[in-house]
Symmetry: C2
Subunit: 188 residues, 2 copies
Amino acid sequence: MKLFFVTGNRNKFDEVKKVTDRYGIELEWSDIDVVEQKLKTEKEVAIAKALSALKILHKPVLVEDTGIYFDAFKNFPGPNAKVVFEGVGSEGVLKLLEGKPRGAKFVTSFAFATPNLHPIAFVGECRGKIAEKISPIISFAYDAIFIPEGETRTFSEMTKEEKEQYSHRAKALDEFIRWYTARKLFPE
Amino acid sequence: MKLFFVTGNRNKFDEVKKVTDRYGIELEWSDIDVVEQKLKTEKEVAIAKALSALKILHKPVLVEDTGIYFDAFKNFPGPNAKVVFEGVGSEGVLKLLEGKPRGAKFVTSFAFATPNLHPIAFVGECRGKIAEKISPIISFAYDAIFIPEGETRTFSEMTKEEKEQYSHRAKALDEFIRWYTARKLFPE
């Protein structure tokens, strides 16, 4: 069964496909525009995205949503991580956290759905903290200020393989793959 | 023709109804849950909300979306004003703007749609600036830190009538009412 991973981000697709390939899962890229709703959690956003993608493709779909949470605030920015980052950048985040607790966690949810199966979500988290300054390495969004628990380096300062050990996205994907490969033992 | 103003906020309904009543527009309250999408502008959000409300009610609908923009940042927080306010509060906003330009504007868009009419949007803006400190008056969201152009007081420090003179929401509503009352001269 072919799965369509729906994302506007080609790099994200490549990253996920590298993993799914190891398990013989046939993953195809789709960059169709799906409805992204303002909802409270990554899981809810991913499920709504999966339903939207399904309506367009009528094929098995996999989607993803990632957010970040700062202990200093209540449910912020959560699934609105991108909007906040694009608005105020790492500098703005450091400013907001001045003199406040620096704990944080990344959360990723994948959602999988088929025309015969309601969306099912898989969540992965990575706890850590926000660095005192921005890593001097050009990197993706919050990666240059996020230090995972048990590390002294930000995600930006790690190799892809090192990051994968901690990564919320890798954990959520792993949950999905376990479920999916077990399920394949049964007929559709 | 009866219009359904769809909002979860009863106070907003009352505020709008007070104005539409003056023009003999029959406004009813509906608090159905509509899909709120992550989009770039208040106008796009309002149009998507109107379509979502129409799908449920199959009646003429009016919806509203309000955002705020800080000159110091690019398109931020825009239609995500509520998420940012709930996350970091007025204190967080003042922190983010420390040492930065304080210009800001409020934007409201109403969208109107009927089963026979594609949504049409009406936009109102109010320019002003963000105060150096929070008004000591309990008030709605950004009102305690927003000073409209030509004033020295924040929205919180004004009476409802004073605020209405400047208000982005009042302007957008006025645009809608002009269009709607002119249109009523013609049969449906």
